[in-house]
């Protein structure tokens, strides 16, 4: 499968080309109109700043008459200092799938995104980290965390191999450890095992001396890896290999000649071999010349912005599961390569498309168009990180909580620090470890958290100038309703919604703070708040 070259000299901008290709496939299927201003503002702010727009921002945007206000908004959000943090959050969840938190890993991601590091550089640093480089070593967490031993289980080299394939090439080769894939013709045992042999040759080392993090040492690989199909009993052999690529020849080195630095068993030093399978595989795998690598990141960035990959599932790209828009995927890949794997640039381009701006509203009675047409906006999941932030923003507790360095259970105003909220939201909303977070997934756990947790109930009690505090002081119920909707759902309420809120507030006028809190709660627990629509 090679990349299709787009004809040179195309005058349209990339967003326009994208929209044309989407429209072409949609054919007679009507495309939803652009989302309303409020919905668009909320969506973009969540997507690119990982945050909710403030009521003031909503009002300003709605009032702005400029024709290019949406473009300016996109530019502003993506250029803001919040963008790299948001992208780092995205990459963290995508690459680690909730296996754990690590400060150095987080710092690596944030610093790399702040520097707008090209994706291929990042990928190479993650897959074969220079552990002695203080700027890189945090990247080792991707591999070292997966090789941590869990109880009596064997070190999970197959799991690491599989995840490298899934996240960097968009292929899930799990079944191919033991036999050629049963249903996917293109996935062969040699593809899995070629990658496997490089990782199995590495050993997890504890942080010590010059190594400030856990790291991987490599052995001296001298022989190919033998495997047998458990289904056909056919034998095979492979050296290190990039899936679907060429095998890396193993040099014929012997004895001391194998080592750059000889291992010293007495000092517990594993040494450093001349032939590094990890290096060889990584250099060949994470480059612009590897179409799988290019397509994967293009597809994943598309998924991030549009809510569904062009290849779905994101890690099952093969001949019998082609992209919904092959020409489009190739276009994105080519352009990304031409722009040196600049993720910020690609995200920016995607955000400028009409496809991105499409409303997610379905006219009543209408049937939903097939997902792979992108004819309508998608409801997308909000990560625990986005939710925690949005929740605190909406309830007007963001400043208080993020400024509070130390939680003090005795003092109601200092009861929680930001990390408490982040942890609580992660527990309630993040997927289980090793599960990708791809779809909106309401769970019993999250519902119970919303109904009964101390954190949620605390935030909706009146406290200084927080949302409930402010609105309790307002006497005009219609105004209160407006403020509620602006703060929480980032839009103005419809007439009947205003009426509902006003009726509620009148009914419970005897305990206004509680009544306001309940309204806030009802909106904060709504499906509308919890998805990115």
């Amino acid at each position: 499968m090679s990349l299709v070259t787009i004809s040179a000299g195309a005058a349209d901008s990339l967003p326009e080309q994208i929209d044309r290709l989407v429209a072409a496939k949609a054919g007679s299927q009507p495309l939803a109109p652009a989302a309303a201003d409020a919905e668009f503002l909320r969506r973009a702010t969540l997507d690119f700043a990982g945050d909710l727009p403030t009521p003031a921002e909503v009002r300003t945007f709605l009032a702005d008459a400029a024709a290019d206000k949406r473009i300016k908004l996109i530019d502003k959000l993506i250029d803001s200092p919040r963008f790299p943090e948001r992208l780092a959050d995205v990459l963290h969840v995508m690459l680690m799938e909730r296996r754990g938190e690590d400060a150095k890993w987080r710092a690596y991601l944030v610093d790399s995104c702040k520097a707008n590091k090209p994706w291929d550089v990042m990928a190479r640093e993650i897959l074969c980290t220079d552990y002695l480089d203080a700027n890189q070593r945090g990247a080792s967490y991707f591999a070292t965390r997966r090789l941590d031993k869990e109880g009596q289980q064997l070190t999970d080299y197959p799991g690491l191999t599989r995840d490298v394939g899934r996240m960097f090439l968009g292929v899930d080769l799990q079944c191919c450890q033991c036999h050629n894939h049963l249903t996917v013709k293109g996935y062969k045992q040699a593809d899995f095992n070629g990658l496997f042999v490089a990782f199995q040759n590495a050993k997890l080392e504890k942080a010590a001396g010059d190594h400030a993090t856990s790291w991987l040492s490599e052995g001296a690989l001298t022989a190919k890896y033998d495997f047998v199909s458990v289904l056909t009993s056919v034998k095979g052999q492979t050296g290190p290999r990039v899936p679907f690529g060429e095998e890396v020849p193993i040099p014929d080195l012997k004895g001391d000649d194998m080592w750059l630095v000889k291992p010293d068993r007495k000092k517990n030093e594993p040494g450093k071999p001349k032939f590094s399978p990890l290096q060889e595989v990584t250099q060949r795998m994470a480059t612009k010349d590897n179409p799988w690598f290019v397509r994967n990141i293009a597809n994943r960035m598309w998924w991030l912005v549009m809510g569904r990959g062009l290849v779905e599932p994101l890690d099952l790209n093969h001949a019998a599961n082609p992209p919904s828009h092959p020409e489009l995927l190739d276009l994105l890949g080519n352009e990304l390569v031409a722009h040196n794997f600049d993720l910020k640039w690609l995200i920016h381009e995607l955000a400028l498309t009409q496809t991105y701006q499409r409303s997610s509203e379905l006219p009543s009675g209408a049937t939903r168009p097939p997902d792979d047409l992108f004819a309508i906006g998608r409801e997308r999941p909000l990560s625990a990180e986005q939710l925690a932030r949005a929740f605190l923003r909406a309830t007007g507790e963001w400043e208080r909580v993020s400024d509070n360095k130390k939680a003090d259970a005795q003092d109601d105003t200092k009861r929680y620090a930001l990390s408490d909220f982040e942890a609580a939201f992660r527990t309630a909303f993040a997927s289980a470890p090793k599960e990708p977070e791809l779809t909106v997934n309401p769970t019993l756990k999250s519902a119970l958290f919303l109904r009964n947790s101390e954190q949620v109930l605390w935030a909706i009690r009146p406290r200084g100038e927080n949302l409930v505090g402010r609105l309790t002081a307002l006497t005009d119920n219609a105004q209160a309703a407006e403020e509620l909707y602006l703060a929480i759902l980032a839009r103005l309420p419809a007439a009947d919604e205003k009426a509902d809120i006003a009726a509620w507030l009148e009914k419970h006028a005897a305990d206004r703070p509680r009544a306001i809190g309940d309204c806030a709660w009802a909106l904060l627990s709504s499906a509308e708040f919890f998805s990115n629509h």
Binding site: G151, Q152, Q153, Q174, C175, Q177, C178, L182, T183, V230, P313, S360, E361, L362, P363, S364, R368, E379, T427, A428, S431, A432, E435, V440, N441, P442, T443, L444, K445, S446, A447, L448, F449, R451, N452, S453, E454, L457, A494, D496, E497, D500, W504, R514, D518, C519, W521, A522, L523, S525, S526, A527, E528, F530, S531, H533
Partner: protein
């Protein structure tokens, strides 16, 4: 793959979800000694110090350590001819509870997750797969295997509900319900203009949460009547089986209760002397209660471990792991009453008759629940998968 997707035949799937059958799965973690329980060999080389006693079925004896269950044998089916492959805990527990099917490169769901998937939550709207255990509770997505985290278990640690289950004390029931109605009403407008899957899923979890919160009494150990606690035994196993009974009565589809501490590599005989009476007391109490209420006929009851224990007694007066020949006990829905399936030789070392692997038991259990264990298949993203080991079949003698 949502809703009814995930099974190859939609029609069959819908039929199964109408079922009113339930399961009580008592897991005796560590490996209960079959020689000190279901399959005693008194006065033989490996028989240990205890005697055996007759049960309510002539010709069948249990260990003297379980007199109450001996009286219940007429309700039970004891399989004495289990012969399984794995003698390690960490892998063995998983293999047994996942049915140890042929390797398909995907993790199979635990029996509870499978039943939750196949039969659904039923009318109660309570979570379909609940696990009552000592120690920590919480949401356990890993049981679901390839079915996905939604089919994991909801664990009640020490019978206590998971975090945030109980209504926050700052709220009254009325206020909680009222604000929840407000939430639902305000949600309608949003839901009216969106695809239904997400909003339906959202409603489902809020509804289940409400059901669970409403029924907080069924797992609140402080609310258990003292007389009942005495009858089941005021120890973990007794309390947990009592909670299990309440959960089953409330309509929970699959209730797993785990008792830990059966891995008696040392001092096996005093250990069983101490633990068996508690098992005897609480397990017979729940059998009696389920029978008395008529519920036993539609509840499949299983009591088992991951393997049995060695006939040979080690130097620490213990028994080690023995998957070669061991026992489990069943009762209830679809199970034949008052029979023993298979037998071991005089010394209790090997199975004399046909040995059964756990796959045969999965077939048997599905059949007892009215599920065709051969025809029914999962649909795992296009990969059809049998629900039980494809080379095995139900044990006819065990089925009513």
């Amino acid at each position: 793959m949502g809703g009814l997707g995930g099974l190859l035949s939609r029609a069959a799937a819908e039929e199964m979800r109408k079922s009113d059958k339930q399961v009580l799965f008592l897991w005796l973690d560590g490996g209960i000694s079959q020689l000190e329980s279901w399959d005693p060999k008194p006065n033989t080389t490996f028989g240990g110090p205890f005697r055996s006693i007759p049960t309510s079925v002539p010709g069948i004896h249990f260990s003297e350590l379980m007199p109450k269950l001996a009286k219940q044998m007429n309700r039970m089916c004891v399989v004495r001819s289990l012969c399984t492959k794995d003698n390690a805990h960490s892998s063995g527990v998983e293999r047994i509870q996942r049915g140890d099917p042929k390797t398909r490169g995907v993790p199979y769901p635990y029996f509870g997750s499978a039943v939750a998937k196949l039969l659904g939550p039923g009318e109660s709207k309570l979570p379909p797969y609940v696990w009552i255990k000592p120690g920590n509770g919480g949401f356990r997505p890993e049981d679901g295997g390839f079915l996905g985290p939604k089919f994991g278990s909801l664990a009640f640690g020490d019978g206590k509900p998971p975090e945030n289950l109980l209504r926050n004390p700052a709220l009254t029931a009325e206020e909680d319900d009222e604000r929840n109605e407000l939430r639902a009403r305000l949600n309608e407008r949003y839901a009216a203009h969106r695809a239904p899957e997400y909003t339906e899923a959202n409603s489902y979890v809020f509804d289940t949460a409400r059901e669970l919160m409403k029924r907080a009494d069924i797992f609140d150990t402080s609310k258990l009547p003292e007389r009942e606690v005495q009858r089941y035994g005021s120890h973990d196993l007794g309390r947990h089986l009592l909670i299990a009974r309440n959960m089953l009565e409330a309509g929970v589809r699959f209730v797993k209760v785990t008792s830990y501490g059966w891995d008696t590599h040392g001092d096996n005989f005093n250990a069983h002397a101490s633990m068996m009476p508690k098992l005897d007391q609480s397990f017979s109490a729940i059998l009696e209660d389920l029978a008395a209420s008529g519920q036993l006929d539609r509840t499949l009851v299983i009591a088992m471990s991951e393997f049995g224990r060695t006939p040979r007694v080690n130097g620490h007066a213990g028994r080690d792991h023995w998957p070669e020949a061991w026992s489990l006990a069943m009762a209830g829905c679809g199970i034949r009453k008052g029979v023993v399936v298979g037998d071991t030789n005089e010394q209790g070392t090997w199975v004399k008759s046909d040995g059964y692997d756990i796959g045969s038991l999965f077939h048997t259990w599905y059949s007892a629940l009215g599920i065709d264990s051969v025809a029914t298949e999962y649909d795992n993203h296009g990969q059809p998968l049998p629900i039980a080991h494809e080379d095995m079949k139900p044990i006819k003698e065990a089925l009513a």
